[in-house]
């Protein structure tokens, strides 16, 4: 790696030479994540309807629940966008506040997801019930795990922002978690359509 020369203009996260490098690396990582989730979606599609003796999905899926979760995550993606906008305006306080709001919405989403899983398990649909339910819990659970990781990660970045302020390095980290968060939102939209909407109709 050569000099970490700093530019004087442009978005903060791109000013150091290693900024664009790391961000490009993260985009490529997201491409790998797309393949990962595509594989899970394909698995889910193949195993769709294979309930065995377990309860079918349309008897358990509920629109209000799925909509609430979608709403929480969509809004959190929006607030995350505002956070990065605040960062561009170099407002540390705004950035931290909007990140915390994002975090709270993310936690809300996770709360509902856990509630949903517990509910299904009580209704007798567990990850071991049949191929369909294995695929369902694995797909949504993998997304949920990603969100959980994102929550921890975002917390670490908020702590760093508060302790060290808005430096190019931390700006880069914030920008990257923003990308990650939007990505999870996009994946969720696919889950909402492919799993919940279709699951309720078919």
């Amino acid at each position: 790696m050569s000099e970490h020369a700093e530019l004087k203009t442009g978005p903060l996260e791109y000013r150091r030479e290693d900024g664009p490098l790391t961000i490009l690396g993260f985009w490529i990582f997201l491409a790998a994540e797309v393949v990962l989730f595509s594989t899970l979606f394909a698995t889910y599609a193949v195993l769709f309807g294979r309930y065995g003796d377990a309860t079918p999905a349309h008897e358990l899926f509920e629109m209000p629940m799925a909509l609430t979760m979608t709403f929480l995550l969509l809004v959190s993606s929006f607030t995350c966008g505002i956070a990065v906008h605040m960062m561009r305006k170099e407002s540390l306080k705004g950035l931290v506040i909007w990140l915390i709001i994002t975090l709270a919405l993310g936690l809300g989403f996770l709360g509902f997801e856990i509630y949903e899983f517990v509910h299904y398990v009580h209704e007798g649909a567990t990850i071991q019930s049949s191929a369909f339910w294995s695929a369902f819990f694995t797909l949504t659970g993998t997304h949920g795990l990603h969100v959980t990781l994102g929550v921890f990660w975002c917390t670490a970045i908020i702590i760093q922002l508060i302790r060290f302020g808005l430096t190019p390095v931390i700006a880069r980290k914030t920008f990257i978690i923003g990308l990650y968060w939007h990505f999870l939102d996009v994946v969720w939209i696919f889950i909402f359509t492919a799993v919940y909407l279709i699951g309720m109709v078919v």
Partner: protein
């Protein structure tokens, strides 16, 4: 407690395994003793275990790969011994299953892959005029996850028992019903662990090659080996996540009772075959394309000619990469997909022969009218062409779905893929190692011993595998532990060949020891009159690679520099060089991941859960690490360069 350790934890009752245990203990004690006696622990830790230097990481990859070549090679010899005569009693059927499984897995994932990644680490940053890879810390982490993954797989044969469902691990054979023991878990977690590292390597090299090339080096001016590394990285990024998921799903099936691939609960065993080969076929190209890259470099250097058809070579690799994702069904033509599907995949399979053929003609074209020097790397390249062609042609034969009903799962297939993997990948890696050896260690490998090992290997290889085509046509199935009397003569021949081949490997390794002691030290850094930038630095390569970075005009950057008398040391342009600091975290974090995986293998959640927490703690530590590395001052660069170049005069 003792009962558990003796009966379940350790593998007991087999003389060969007791031998292995004894040798593992002795070797470990020996290594610890040597390191302690010569007070080398600190050196080892400071110089290698914590390194983030791509050149040292490359060397560690290659050492590990050679060690695994021996592990897999011993497995191969044991199998060949068992198959030499009818009614042999050397290995029983269970043991035979374990050995072909570990042989295949070790050879592909823990020998071929790290060998390739090792050479990429050594050569790619130097070829593009970079000071390091894009993410040096991640690079170290990749190595250590691979290393601990390999260790996890290797301990299975003394602790708990080896997996035995083949390297393809088809269900239901590998599933919880038919393999209820823990051994299959080793396969799943070892591959998962090292797979993480491989994916990280793919990302790392893609960014490195896209963003860190010397000024002037456009994509079409990159050395061809770097091109092959670029394409390989892209294939890795698209293929490895599929493996990650496939392994995770089977792990869930086996440890948590899900129903992805089970027969009960409406699971679908065929889905495993699809996911596995959706990764597995591209994997075959991950291990062959870099070898193609090596041969291109070697042939052009030793024929003293510019590579013929550079652009065609690049496009051919791109086409191969694309096609590699659409042929996977040819691995199960006989499993009832139907004529339409089989025809489609038959056609895509045979299409791959077209770009491959183009490359063969380009290599021949490069040699045409060249003033060829027959050094050892060139010999490997020359042997590659006819032998690999045999592998390719028989591959097209296998690609014909209807014909495949005849050879499927016979020794014809075994012969085919060894012709591709040994004549392609392994010869390529030997060529690449001998070629870049002076860059890595400052001295060449001995030519005479190199040639002896070459002839043993090539002749032994053909004696081993050529008869197997005929055995296959005679109906000898693969994965069989005992042979019929009428197959005896050819099998005996094949086994004899395997020992000759193994002798070749041993001589190759002996050459490393011999050359380290007796070969004259390299003075110039340009050992073979090379053409690309890696030969432009001194030997040994300073840790910052290039004091000043040249401007590049063609894909033979160093050749141009030699014509104009330029060097990579321009005193007037020196600036302090920024370098990353060495870190202990990659090895520590991977070791913790190893513990967690070992816990999962045994369903020991008391070990797995703290292990996972440990990994998270390591990630937090990393996140709060603001170490910026350090700068090499101009004085130090001057001293290093003058010393290295002073010797040159």
């Amino acid at each position: 407690m003792w009962d558990f350790i003796w009966n379940d934890f350790l593998v007991t009752g087999e003389p060969i395994i007791y031998g292995a245990m004894a040798s593992i203990v002795l070797a470990t004690v020996g290594i610890v003793f040597v390191l302690t006696y010569f007070k080398l622990w600190k050196w080892l830790w400071d110089e290698y275990l914590t390194t983030v230097d791509h050149k040292k990481i490359g060397i560690m990859y290659i050492i590990a790969a050679l060690a695994m070549l021996f592990r897999g090679g011993v497995d191969a010899l044991m199998m060949r011994t068992q198959l030499a005569l009818p009614n042999m009693n050397f290995l029983n059927s269970v043991h035979y299953n374990e050995i072909f499984t570990t042989h295949g897995t070790v050879m592909i994932l823990f020998m071929a892959m790290p060998f390739i990644i090792g050479l990429m680490n050594v050569a790619v940053p130097l070829q593009i005029g970079a000071r390091d890879v894009a993410f040096p810390f991640l690079n170290a982490f990749s190595f250590w996850t691979f290393f601990f993954g390999a260790m996890l797989f290797n301990i299975s044969f003394v602790i708990g028992g080896s997996p035995s469902a083949g390297w393809t691990s088809y269900v239901p054979m590998a599933g919880p019903e038919l393999s209820p023991e823990i051994n299959q878990n080793y396969y799943l977690l070892a591959l998962q662990l090292s797979g993480i590292g491989t994916l990280a390597t793919g990302i790392n090299f893609l960014v490195t090659i896209l963003r860190m090339r010397a000024p002037g080096m456009t994509l079409m001016k990159m050395p061809i080996f770097t091109w092959s590394a670029l394409i390989t990285s892209i294939i890795i990024i698209f293929a490895f996540p599929i493996l990650t998921i496939a392994l995770a799903l089977m792990t869930l099936d086996r440890i948590f009772g899900t129903h992805f691939f089970t027969l009960a609960g409406e699971g679908m065993p065929m889905m495993w075959a699809n996911l596995f080969w959706l990764w597995g076929h591209p994997e075959v190209y991950i291990v062959i394309l870099p070898a193609f890259g090596v041969f291109s470099e070697v042939i052009s250097t030793f024929a003293r000619k510019q590579l013929f058809g550079y652009k065609a070579m690049v496009y051919a690799m791109c086409v191969i990469a694309g096609l590699s994702f659409v042929v996977w069904v040819h691995h199960f033509f006989t499993m009832g997909a139907g004529a339409g599907v089989n025809s489609l995949f038959s056609i895509t399979t045979m299409l791959i022969a077209v770009p491959t053929g183009i490359k063969i003609f380009n290599w021949l074209g490069t040699m045409y009218k060249g003033r060829i020097r027959f050094n050892v790397p060139m010999l490997w390249a020359l042997a590659f062409i006819p032998n690999f062609t045999i592998g390719g042609v028989t591959g097209v034969m296998l690609g014909m779905a209807s014909a495949d009903y005849q050879y499927h799962n016979t020794y014809f297939l075994i012969a085919h893929f060894h012709y591709v993997l040994i004549a392609g990948t392994l010869f390529g890696m030997f060529a690449g190692l001998t070629y870049w050896y002076p860059k890595m260690f400052g001295h060449k490998m001995n030519e005479k011993i190199g040639k002896i090992s070459f002839w043993f290997t090539v002749i032994g290889f053909n004696i081993t595998f050529l008869p197997q085509f005929f055995l296959g046509l005679m109906g000898m199935p693969r994965r069989t532990y005992t042979i019929e009397p009428e197959w005896m003569p050819l099998n005996l021949l094949s086994t004899a060949g395997a020992f000759i081949l193994a002798t070749g490997f041993v001589i190759f390794t002996f050459n490393i020891y011999y050359s380290a002691r007796y070969e004259p030290r390299e003075k110039t850094g340009d050992a073979w009159d090379g053409r690309s930038l890696e030969w432009a630095t001194t030997t040994p390569v300073p840790h910052y690679n290039f004091a000043t970075i040249p401007y590049v005009n063609s894909h033979e950057a160093y050749w141009d520099m030699k014509e104009t008398g330029a060097t990579t040391y321009d005193e007037s342009k020196l600036e302090p060089i920024h370098m990353p600091s060495y870190k202990g975290l990659p090895i520590i974090m991977s070791a913790i991941m190893f513990m967690a995986s070992f816990g999962l293998v045994w369903h020991w959640f008391w070990l797995a859960i703290p292990g996972l927490l440990g990994v998270i703690i390591c990630m937090v530590i990393r996140s709060f690490d603001f170490d910026e590395g350090y700068h090499v001052p101009i004085d130090e660069i001057k001293r290093t360069e003058e010393q290295a170049r002073g010797r040159k005069e």
